[in-house]
């Protein structure tokens, strides 16, 4: 029998969505069609499945060595440039970190600026952004460009004129909530998450009406079932109903109210299943001793009904997190073979170093293997319970407060952070930008004040013992759960990857190189040093019949915090000099879009 809470939630959500049904077909179908046009890039992840793949093959393994910059554009901002541009028709939309400018560039007129939107935001939001003032990009739908601002304002701009159509405040920066993620237009709504896991902000994803910005639904990451939009009997995890109060039961007292689980990563959508997929971040604080329990539903993959927000299935990857392994990385939807069986898969390269493969229709856990051999905090994931088998020696919460837990791999920044991987339907492989960094982690007690950091741990980072490279660009096969090839990189690979039908995969390096590699072997075919380190996403498009590759340069983000001055030498057992590398010896701040192409 349905619980009263779920009936109320569902009927409220259904009545709202019924009103939307009339125009539902429009924005949804339009974007699906446009995302199939290889000349355009209308969704941040390339398509709703977040595959970051281009069917273009003008640029291929034979000619990419002749690739060269064709034009450049300076954004005028000098902070970390994450995300990438959108190309809608003949207009390119470029976004920036704070102050979050949006430029509309006319591709028919050598990138002339059609309009600029520059929001007025209180600079006091800057220090409340934990990891640089990044922004991961705008969304497009129904003739509007949607920007998610640092101060959590979601604003819809007329794509032709840049004029504000509507504007809504998503959350409150004075409580530590900020905006960094790219929105996603789904049907006649736009979905947006929130940042603030280092400030005790309770995470949520909200759907706003694309027409006028009215809230359609909001789903929290922690709290009562009516807040998290769970149906105790229908929402499942590992194939079983989650039951009543599945979140509340896993927190002490009221801690869930400042529980974190923020949703600052990427959102995917399956139009056939009508499900949206995303992950939640770390529970607050970084000191696990202060928040005993599984801390559900932080570190969780959510599959929610797009119209109502009600969760169909969920899976928590890192219960009682002790390492800050946020679960927000992209959910790549791919129809691939897993252990020989064709599967409607969801593939997720998590911060915690495991590549998870689930059946995206029902949340069945199919595979969880390490995508970096250095990962040591868990031996494996138990496929029956879905729980990681934690190694006590590498568990700071188990080791206790004011004890330095040493040599944990990966470091808090994960085997991969938000920088998205790509999938090629041609090869069936995933091309993944990875970090290869370990840490010592020491938690201690801290007090909570609204709007102030709620961290409670310190850490030092270094490469795995005996190794010098801080990153790898890899090809990964989910059919067998293994790495196919691995290209070591001096620094963490912090850019979004792109796979193409031309057989070339692209990525950017922290010291500023745009690189092209052969997707079959990983062999480097081309590289060019752009003005600053790349943490943006490589983006393809076509104009007047020619293929181009665009990428934002501008070092920053968490890489800019942890690596600008170099990492700490791992003194235990290494002895010799060499592990210490300063990113600032290779690159400085910048903010430039470079567009590459071939000569005629």
């Amino acid at each position: 029998m349905r619980s009263p809470i779920s009936i109320a939630v569902l009927s409220a959500a259904l009545s709202l969505s019924a009103g939307l049904m009339a125009g539902t077909a429009l924005a949804n179908d339009q974007l699906i069609q446009m995302s199939k046009d290889p000349a355009q890039w209308v969704i941040p992840g390339g398509n709703y499945a977040s595959q970051r793949y281009s069917p273009l093959k003008q640029i291929n393994v034979d000619n990419v060595k002749n690739l060269h910059p064709v034009w450049t554009f300076s954004t005028g901002v000098l902070r970390g440039h994450e995300g990438g541009p959108l190309i809608v028709g003949d207009v390119m939309y470029v976004h920036t970190p704070f102050p979050n400018k949006v430029f509309a560039l006319d591709l028919n007129n050598e990138g002339r600026i059609l309009w600029v939107y520059e929001p007025k935001q209180d600079p006091n939001v800057i220090p409340v952004m934990c990891c640089d003032t990044v922004n991961r990009g705008v969304a497009y739908g129904d003739g509007k460009i949607i920007l998610h601002q640092a101060d959590t304002t979601v604003v819809a701009l007329d794509a032709k004129t840049g004029k504000v159509v509507w504007s809504v405040k998503d959350d409150d920066p004075s409580k530590g909530a900020t905006g960094t993620s790219a929105p996603l237009v789904v049907k006649n709504m736009v979905l947006v998450g929130v940042s603030g896991g280092e400030f005790g902000v309770r995470g949520h994803v909200t759907a706003y009406s694309l027409a006028d910005g009215k809230q359609v639904w909001r789903a929290y990451s922690e709290g009562p079932d009516s807040d998290i939009l769970f149906d105790p009997e229908k929402t499942t995890s590992m194939g079983k109903p989650v039951g009543k109060d599945s979140s509340l039961k896993t927190w002490q007292g009221d801690q869930w109210k400042i529980g974190g689980g923020d949703t600052w990563g990427w959102i995917s959508y399956d139009p056939e299943l009508n499900l949206v997929y995303y992950g939640s971040g770390n529970p607050s604080t970084w000191n696990p001793v202060q928040r005993p329990g599984d801390n559900k539903w932080s570190m969780t993959i959510f599959a929610r009904d797009a119209d109502t927000g009600v969760a169909k299935w969920v899976y928590q990857m890192t219960p009682w997190d002790q390492w800050d392994y946020d679960g927000i990385n992209e959910m790549i939807l791919a129809d691939v073979k897993v252990h020989g069986k064709p599967t409607k898969a969801l593939v997720h390269f998590d911060r915690n170093g495991f590549a998870y493969v689930l059946d995206r229709t029902n949340g069945a856990l199919l595979e969880a293997e390490k995508y970096d051999p250095a990962v040591n905090w868990a031996t494996h994931v138990d496929m029956k319970t879905g729980r990681p088998q934690v190694v006590a020696q590498y568990a700071p919460g188990m080791q206790g407060e004011e004890h330095n837990t040493k040599g944990i791999c990966p470091a808090a920044l994960g085997s991969k952070d938000e920088q998205p991987a790509s999938f090629s339907p041609d090869t069936g492989l995933f091309y993944v930008p990875t970090n290869h960094v370990c840490m010592d982690y020491e938690p201690f007690k801290v007090a909570y004040t609204a709007g102030q950091p709620y961290v409670g741990a310190t850490l030092s980072m270094f490469p795995p013992k005996g190794e010098k490279n801080l990153g790898n660009f890899i090809a990964y096969d989910v059919n067998e759960g293994k790495i196919v090839w691995s290209d070591p990189e001096m620094f963490s690979v912090w850019s979004g990857a792109l796979a193409t039908a031309g057989g070339v995969a692209f990525y950017g390096t922290l010291d500023g190189y745009l690189k092209a590699v052969d997707m079959k072997t990983g062999k480097e075919l081309y590289k060019f040093k752009t003005p600053s380190g790349i943490i943006g996403n490589v983006t393809p498009f076509m104009h007047n019949g020619k293929e181009y590759i665009a990428v934002l340069s501008g070092v920053g983000g968490w890489a800019g915090i942890g690596m600008a001055a170099g990492l700490t030498e791992d003194t235990a057992g290494l002895g010799a000099v060499g592990a210490y590398k300063a990113l600032s010896n290779y690159t400085q701040l910048g903010g430039v879009l470079t567009v590459f192409g071939l000569s005629d």
Binding site: F98, E442, S460
Partner: protein, 150 residues
Amino acid sequence: MNFARVLCLVWVLGAASPIALAAEGNAQAQDNADAERPYKVVDGHVDRATFRGYLYYGDLCLRCHGPDGAGSSYAPSLVNSLKKMDKRQFEETVINGRKNVTAATENVMPAFGTNIDAVQHLEEIYAYLKARSDGVIGRGRPKRIGETDD
């Protein structure tokens, strides 16, 4: 409770009482001596206060100023900054914050005056950073006096 801590609380509370002003005179001389070497380091091992400064630096400051006070792509190296500012200027900056907003750059440091942990551990954070700035301790987690090398 030493006089410097009284001053911190006075800043926080926004008062300018006669007690605070009188204390300031005595505190000045004390501070000048303390400020020279607010830490105790023996054979590269630090006293408990300096170690707690390392911890609370990591909790409050690392996310912008990077590990070990070494700086990030958008906040300065405090190892360098403390060569040019004295203890009073350090405390004033932490308590009140700082804005550096121009056409090309927007660097904002928040005011930590209302942050309980920052105010209570301000001295210790200064001690740790000063030890780093003076080159007396290196990068990474400092060992405590009495802690054996493992």
